[in-house]
Symmetry: C2
Subunit: 384 residues, 2 copies
């Protein structure tokens, strides 16, 4: 899979045992294949809301297919598995445009190219079916979070921080219908875009949040950002580059130019936006404990959860982890690595499991999460 | 399916018996559903080489999906069949861009939308796999021509005359590897463009070839046209609006202005171009009979075929049929209606059969026709 940050493709080879909700996954190999820089630039240029040509999109569909196929072949080779050993490739593709409210979403990366190039069966286009029945088409990982990380005693928040940040809440002993999940807002997207803008494209992210750690949060900008309608909207909800991409950052830089913030202040403020939007989302939207005593509520602050499991690229950012821990009070924060998945591996593993779910005829969207009118089979099947 | 003229969707409900190369199809109902005019205009605007936005393409993918789903529901209703009676829907979608030499092709019309809206399993995206293995992704109907129209005793040329004319040659007793198919040149395109030009857009075609029948062929113009490199190129080959569209006609009118031809002479000459390019293509490129006696060869002229099956819009043109019969000497010319398919139904039936071929695991591209490096399964499978 490749996320909205478009840095490249995360491919995992994993062994899957069991079926449906009883699947267990073991990661054999994990490869991060950076996009060739010309392809990455072309993708960013074509991303909504961009003016482009139909030819460009047609050709990008092929080129992304080639890049995904190469990543798949590489991870298979490293894991020492052949096409014959491979039950299925789940390919999320690259999102170019996501407009669930208009009933449409566009992931490119031609599945026939992947199938022919690898010799493997491919499941792709996971989001369209959910969007077709009125859902947001996202997030789709909550089902696999539930499959892999549910617990009988602890209520868990699985917090992913990629370009966008999203949470899956897995109540202790909860069934699939008890899962809550939604996008909390930006993850690294605003920070990354700021770094790119300040370095004129020379740097792509603030490693370990070093720059942000040196800056001061501008409360006025933060308040301005947090007043966006997205944060007040009740889940299910999702966001993307349309809300927090280049245009969002350019607009903020223009609007608050007179404040003369330093780059590190902008970074600190963007990081605070990520942290604060996550914390407020927990307080406002996560299901409350049924028998919560006033004392508990005081002790833990509001988030009615027993532990946070952090994943995604942002979980490697030490400054972010420290700030989130401090903002959430006493809630233990664990990293996904403790559960056997490298930070970048969980999401690709999810799409491997979703591909298996498609083969097992198990619908894997969660209507309470995406807003879909019903559970549906996700993905189209392409044979080599 | 919907073709490059974008007038609307041809949907057929058909009963298919048998599997793979033994399939037999009976058309139960045939519906032509015009695109809403705003959608048609949006599609023409987005067609390559056009400047557009990623959002537009994302939304068109949804809207074309809705239109195809509506056409499918309508033809199912007319035929009195439910989703439960329906094994599969084959959806060609709408081609927005076709660049096989760049390894890419783009058909839109979201299959998940069709599947969810009809409750039927859908096979779509038929061209990508052939393009992925180096083919032109077209034509795909020769395989279904072979399935439906091959004969043990007679060698048949299935001659389609749309805007462009193309032939599928089915040798008597021939296997799938013996099929030849390619574009012979213009079908109605040059005649239609002349009529449009002479009537200043008031008329769109020369009904039944009435105007052409009154004119005299100008040998000099015809010879000029027939000297084009396209006609000398060895198959596989294809042509389109790029070769025989508006620019081609404008150039001819300019170049031969001093000859002072009457409109009916131009029409007669354009019709002769269609006829002559078909006949010469048969003589030059169709496989020769293995044991042809000199006497046979004299008697039949060269085309090594026993009968021509005419289909497409041009097959309704009586003058064209008469002239083709005369040019081909004694070869009987039959119309596709005799075989149970209305002129506009054969192509949608083809995609129904291609969907069945996908379910039966039968590769349906013909490498000798498309230039692909191997036979591959066509289409991706989407379940409701």
């Amino acid at each position: 899979m490749s996320g909205t940050s478009v840095d490249g493709i995360d491919a995992v080879a994993c062994r899957v045992l069991g079926r449906g909700s009883r699947m267990r996954a073991t990661v054999l190999q994990h490869v991060h294949a950076a996009y060739p820089s010309t392809l990455r630039r072309a993708l960013l240029d074509a991303m909504s809301p961009a003016t482009t040509t139909t030819e460009t999109i047609c050709d990008l569909n092929r080129q992304v297919g080639d890049a995904f196929a190469a990543a798949a072949r590489r991870v298979m080779k490293r894991a020492g598995i052949s096409a014959r050993d491979t039950a299925v490739i789940g390919s999320h593709g690259q999102t170019l445009c996501h407009r669930p409210d208009a009933g449409s979403t566009l992931q490119i990366g031609c599945p026939a190219v992947i199938a022919q190039s690898t010799g493997c069966r491919v499941v792709a286009d996971f989001r369209s079916a959910d969007v077709a029945v009125g859902g947001q088409g996202a997030p789709l990982v909550p089902w696999t979070d539930w499959v892999l990380l549910r617990d009988t005693r602890r209520t868990r928040a699985v917090q992913n921080i990629g370009g966008i940040a999203n949470v899956t809440c897995l109540p202790a002993k909860g069934g699939v219908d008890d899962v809550t999940a939604f996008d909390t807002g930006p993850g690294n997207m605003v920070m990354d875009e700021l770094v790119r803008s300040f370095s004129r494209g020379g740097r792509r992210f603030d490693a370990n949040g070093r720059l942000a750690a040196r800056g001061r949060v501008c409360d006025a900008v933060l308040a301005d950002w947090l007043s966006l309608p997205f944060f007040r909207r009740r889940p299910p909800k999702s966001c993307g580059r349309e809300e927090f991409g280049r245009a969002f950052v350019a607009e903020a830089l223009r609007r608050h130019a007179r404040r003369r913030l330093r780059p590190e202040d902008w970074l600190a403020t963007a990081l605070a936006l990520t942290i604060e939007s996550i914390a407020r989302a927990y307080e406002t939207w996560l299901p409350k404990r049924e028998r919560e005593t006033r004392r508990d509520s005081k002790r833990f602050g509001l988030p009615p959860i027993d532990e946070v499991i952090l994943c995604g690229g942002g979980s490697r950012n030490a400054t972010l982890r420290r700030m989130l821990a401090s903002r959430l009070g006493g809630v233990p924060i664990r990293r996904i690595e403790e559960f056997g998945f490298a930070a970048g591996a969980k999401e690709p593993v999810s799409f491997a499991l979703l591909a298996c779910a498609r083969l097992d005829d198990v619908p894997a969207n969660l209507p309470q999460v995406t807003g879909a009118s019903r559970r549906v089979l996700l993905g189209s099947l392409t044979e080599p």
